[in-house]
């Protein structure tokens, strides 16, 4: 309503001051639209940027005190290295002129005077950084810092932009009707799949899996600061109000209100879902699982947030919350893949679920899901997107991590891992003055 009042005032002013002219009115409207777009995308981009802090806090909280400084460095540097890379190559491969719908190829090393281009770059670079930083948590507590830097350069310069081009840059998936509003697949699944490959290449932390004969038991390695993990989840949730509503890409598109609503409802339902499952399975409502549940709900709604009703959003969120608990248990206890913060489940698995949810719950004139009379067409397209992006990311990160492992080394030595990466990698202490047991 407010924006309409502003338009009316602008129009009235234009009429009275310069005499009635259609040109003035339309240029006033254009100016109004451009200003709102500019402000909205920069504000939303800043919110998404703040998610870096959220990731850092979640990861620090859910891991041990002796590695906190290393996680800070990873989250700081994957953004810093990633943003330079996205300026040099990433943007060009993602949003440059499309080569057969496979990748973009123009606008390397962005410059010039096009403010709209800078605006769009700013909004997109924070998404690229989000995809990159997801992996930090999964590979926490045992990865060589230099190896992680090499990885962040490649995901921001090459891996994320190319699959992103398929969906958001006008590439082949978007042409066949694949829909991912704010990045369940483009951002979160990419981070999730890379996490899966990374943790498999690394192996588990020392002491995580103990084998007696042929029986392998999973041991808990407790996070050292739940309040920080909680702060991180709330920061991420807050940042999501830039991530999803900002993806309207327009400051005058009222859909952003629906997006904010469905985002909120799904996150709430996700936390509730995870809490219920953990309550039934473990007899107590688990704190860190409920926190993961909120994130799962957010990831789950991200693809469909603009095309589903509030009730559908709650269902999507609840299922995300259920999925995340079972997935974390399955990955830990059955597959024996050590993911300290649950990144593979939250971003990878719930990212897949969220993408498919478009094909189930979508209900607009363009997107009709299975449950709203759209048949299997949209669901099939969504499935194809999930599979192809998954294959792309797993193949490229597989090659990347294999090369790093062979040439440079991916993992710190046993002694360094036990002493903690803060001391071993950065020669610092995150909690100087506190007595911390560094034996685990």
């Amino acid at each position: 309503m407010k924006s309409r009042i502003v338009v009316m005032i602008l129009i009235l002013l234009a009429c009275t001051l310069s005499g009635i002219g259609a040109d003035e009115i339309s240029s006033a409207i254009t100016l109004h639209q451009d200003s709102f777009d500019m402000i909205w995308l920069l504000v939303a981009g800043s919110l998404v940027f703040f998610m870096q802090a959220g990731f850092a806090m979640v990861e620090i909280g859910l891991t041990r005190a002796k590695n906190a400084g290393n996680i800070i460095m990873k989250n700081l540097m994957d953004f810093c290295a990633g943003s330079l890379m996205f300026w040099m190559f990433g943007w060009a491969l993602m949003y440059g002129e499309s080569v057969n719908g496979l990748f973009g190829f123009s606008q390397f090393f962005i410059g010039g005077n096009d403010m709209v281009l800078f605006r769009n770059w700013m909004f997109q670079v924070v998404f690229a950084a989000t995809a990159a930083t997801i992996v930090s948590g999964a590979m926490a507590e045992r990865t060589k810092f230099s190896a992680y830097l090499i990885y962040s350069i490649f995901i921001s310069a090459l891996i994320y932009p190319i699959s992103g081009h398929w969906i958001w840059g006008g590439g082949w998936l978007s042409r066949i009707g694949f829909f991912d509003f704010a990045g369940s697949t483009v951002v979160h699944s990419v981070g999730g799949w890379a996490s899966l490959v990374g943790t498999m290449a690394l192996g588990p932390r020392i002491g995580k899996y103990v084998s007696q004969g042929s029986v392998v038991t999973s041991k808990p390695i407790l996070g050292h600061n739940l309040p920080l993990a909680c702060l991180g989840v709330f920061i991420l949730w807050f940042g999501w109000y830039g991530f999803n509503p900002g993806s309207t890409l327009s400051g005058t598109d009222p859909t952003m209100a629906l997006v904010a609503t469905t985002t909120t409802l799904s996150a709430s339902a996700g936390a509730i879902g995870a809490m219920i499952v953990s309550w039934i399975k473990f007899k107590k409502p688990d704190v860190s699982m409920s926190l993961n549940g909120a994130l799962a709900g957010l990831v789950g709604i991200t693809a469909s947030t603009a095309v589903v009703s509030p009730l559908s959003a709650i269902i999507i969120g609840l299922i995300s919350g259920f999925i995340v608990v079972f997935s974390i248990e399955f990955i830990d206890k059955i597959l024996h893949i050590d993911d300290p913060v649950g990144a593979i489940s939250v971003h990878g698995i719930c990212g897949v679920w969220g993408t498919l949810a478009v094909g189930l719950f979508g209900n607009t004139t363009h997107i009709k899901g299975l449950f709203f009379g759209g048949g299997f067409k949209q669901l099939g397209i969504q499935f194809l997107g999930v599979v192809t992006v998954g294959v792309w990311v797993m193949a490229t990160t597989g090659i990347l991590f294999a090369i790093i492992k062979k040439s440079h080394g991916l993992r710190v030595s046993k002694h360094e891992e036990l002493a903690g990466l803060d001391l071993a990698e950065h020669s610092t202490e995150s909690y100087s003055g506190f007595q911390i047991f560094t034996n685990m």
């Binding site: 002491g207 002694h415 036990l418 002493a419 020669s427 610092t428 007595q435 047991f437 034996n439």
Partner: protein, 113 residues
């Protein structure tokens, strides 16, 4: 009855515990401690400025044992904590005059258990 006191590298505690378990020695007290020996601390850099760390973080283990268990306990600590690098720590063996279990006032070797 002997009291075995050992100062070890913090990250070796888990290995020492496992070696002790293998020899069926289950009683242990552990505390954090600060100290230095021959090494006289080390230097590190904080924000570009040298700092001298005189006292290193160590873990102190205390185990009270009957005489038959003295050798296995020492063996276990050596096997678990030795890296042959300076800073591995030391083991002291002290005689115990008395041992009393508070719960039932048991006295002597059976109180150590």
């Amino acid at each position: 009855m002997k009291l075995i006191v050992a100062y070890i590298q913090p990250e070796k505690l888990n290995d020492v515990k496992q070696e002790l378990y293998r020899r069926e020695i289950f009683k242990i007290s552990v505390s954090n401690s600060l100290g230095c020996g021959q090494q006289k601390g080390y230097k590190k850099v904080y924000r570009g400025v040298d700092i001298e760390v005189n006292l290193l973080k160590k873990v102190r283990i205390e185990i009270a044992v009957n005489d038959a268990f003295v050798e296995p306990t020492i063996e276990a600590i050596l096997d678990g904590a030795q890296t042959s690098v300076i800073g591995d720590g030391k083991i002291f063996v002290l005689p115990i005059e008395q041992c009393i279990r508070i719960r039932n006032r048991e006295n002597g070797p059976q109180a150590i258990g």
